[in-house]
Symmetry: C2
Subunit: 388 residues, 2 copies
């Protein structure tokens, strides 16, 4: 076991190379069978850790990222050089206190920050997989993470938590490995991806496909990158992460660097300029094909089929906290209520907090004190119960 | 005055030619000065009429279309060969009864169904304008329509009505020409385009620009057409016209022509297949550059600046009906309430109906009995008051 391995990966339009931290090579002895039927072996999973594992190995928390997140939850991102995406809750004195807990954050398979994904080299061709990469599911992501937890020699995670897709991963952990999860916090998520959300994902994928530089997924070979298409996908997704009222508060109809409209198609309005910026920065850190694979994994996610959600949690000893945000229209509170109702129906141990905020879906990444208070309360209570 | 003039226009990917009905050539004597400062003269405005103008010329209703609508409100569309877009409310025995009223529907300037727009020939070059077409506003559209009403020798319209952008046009008619409007019905609309809606429009425009066949707006010269880009723009817009619950009811997670997911990027889900179809049919009837111009006109729309909404309606004698739909998140009921509050504040004659439906923004085009009842009641009451 080496925790100092790193791999070099390429990013963005200039194909610059960046080291992406700790890598575990998993499935060496026994391959992992994906839900599509394909076996993968000796595949990399990239991760970061924060804090120290205690002697009892009882204080490990697995943090699960959303669609475009990665393992840099609480440390500077090597590509963007920005703070980790969840430094609001991970750190000294924060809800996930690094003095008390050992935090593990992985990049999911299908991702592009060092984990096995469409940018990885296909041994059959010596070139990146592109769309020859197998379609992975949320359960596949979880099974790969479980191999990492084996590799780290941890039997049971004190807590699994995540927002958005990270919430789907969290619920799947509790469903597949109830004995390995002491507590679970599912935030701003759903037990199944809705028709509207599948529609938004399809729009994102289609907008990438419009870009001729996508090259049917083989842009790496051509040293091209679907900058424009992936930017539009990001812009469209970004709108769904905010709320109408937050956009109104933040931008309204304020003009950008001008006194009056240009009677043209420049970014007259601040909101246009902001969205263009979101698109332009995103393409420097994210892989277009990963966008295909991870959105697809979310589309396929459905814990309500086959016997229904309740069937996964009968006799579960996991302590659950479900959190929603009042202005989240991508994963509205009604979706969280469905989860809570199913857990209640099987007498599971579940708390629910619907946080009032106008910050929309992105609230789980932002400074929302009521969210922090609820999360801290639950984590501390569970930690006491676990004897941490 | 000839009502039988037609012009031939080209449509879709194959550039097939279609006759688009009645055309008035306006601004012959006095040019129309657009808000951007450019004068336009001898420009075509395409229109259709239904029913007969009475001897007093008191029964004319102007119907105003939304972003991608046109003059074929109540007759078969010559390009799609589908029924008119508002046959639900226009016709014998319907709320806008063609036995009682003379209905006028025009294609707005900037449009692509025969009215002066980016597809029109630029006399300076002998080629279509493309992005050299001047940016038009909602007020410009209204002033052009007013010239048509002059041309038809009608002093006062009995009613102006429309949904979505048509509601903006309606409000602007009442603001600019209060003496020429007896009643006005603004449906599923807003007094100013919101930040979120500007964002959605920007995404649509950007997705067209990703398509190399857009050719910077000069695709006509190349006999190309940005099929993929415009399709994605339409797909993204279409999602905003529905509601989450209607999409769930209509599609849920139902698969399309298959028993199980494909583990690929085909349209596995019905909602994906439906959206792709919406995009594919749209490009056969709509011009990509018109999509730029008309979205921009909506972005620029703001009756709340300069003295505020109230200032437009002080002492107005127009009878107003404002209608919203409970599940419309593109133009939510709160936007209609702002209009109603402003009208009430100046003691205008206004009724308000917030219709409960899960059909989203598109409800104004669909079979919603409570909407029909409210509209009929208002129209009949106003017609009695007008002595029709």
């Amino acid at each position: 076991m080496s925790e100092q391995d790193t791999i070099i990966s390429t990013f963005g339009t200039a194909y610059r190379e960046v080291a992406v931290g700790k890598i575990a090579i998993l499935g060496k002895d026994t391959p992992l069978r994906l839900e599509c039927g394909i076996d993968i072996s000796s595949f990399p999973l990239a991760y970061q850790t924060y804090g120290k594992l205690n002697a009892q190995k009882s204080n490990a928390i697995l943090v699960c990222h959303g669609l475009t997140g990665d393992q840099y939850a609480a440390s500077t991102h090597p590509v963007t050089e920005k703070p980790g995406w969840w430094e609001s809750i991970i750190g000294l004195g924060k809800p996930l206190d690094t003095d008390r807990f050992f935090i593990i954050a992985t990049n999911v398979i299908g991702g592009c920050m060092g984990s096995f994904g469409p940018k990885s080299t296909n041994p059959a061709t010596g070139k990146p997989y592109g769309l020859d990469f197998p379609v992975v599911t949320i359960a596949d992501m979880v099974r790969a993470q479980a191999l990492l937890i084996d590799y780290l020699q941890i039997d049971q995670l004190f807590c699994v938590l995540g927002g958005s897709m990270g919430g789907m991963v969290t619920l799947t952990w509790a469903a597949l490995y109830p004995e390995r999860v002491f507590s679970a916090v599912a935030i701003a998520t759903s037990a199944r991806h809705s028709a509207q959300n599948i529609a938004f994902h399809e729009i994102g994928r289609q907008s990438i496909m419009v870009d001729p530089d996508w090259c049917n997924g083989r842009y790496y070979d051509e040293r091209k990158f679907p900058v424009k298409g992936l930017s539009v996908a990001r812009m469209a997704a970004h709108v769904t992460y905010l709320s109408e009222s937050a956009m109104h508060r933040k931008f309204g109809r304020t003009l950008q660097d001008r006194e009056q409209v240009s009677f043209g198609f420049e970014a007259d309005f601040q909101v246009e300029s902001y969205l263009r910026h979101q698109g332009a920065t995103f393409v420097e850190r994210f892989d277009a094909n990963s966008y295909f694979y991870i959105t697809r994994a979310m589309d396929y996610f459905d814990l309500t089929e086959n016997g229904g959600l309740k069937s996964y949690f009968v006799n579960s000893k996991v302590r659950f906290l479900v959190i929603s945000f009042s202005s989240d229209w991508l994963f509205p509170p009604s979706e969280s209520r469905l989860i809570v109702r199913a857990l209640n129906a099987v007498a599971a141990n579940v708390s629910f907090a619907d946080i009032t905020t106008d910050k929309g879906h992105d609230a789980f990444l932002l400074d929302v004190p009521e969210f922090f208070v609820n999360l801290s309360g639950f984590i501390n209570g569970a930690a006491n119960a676990r004897g941490i």
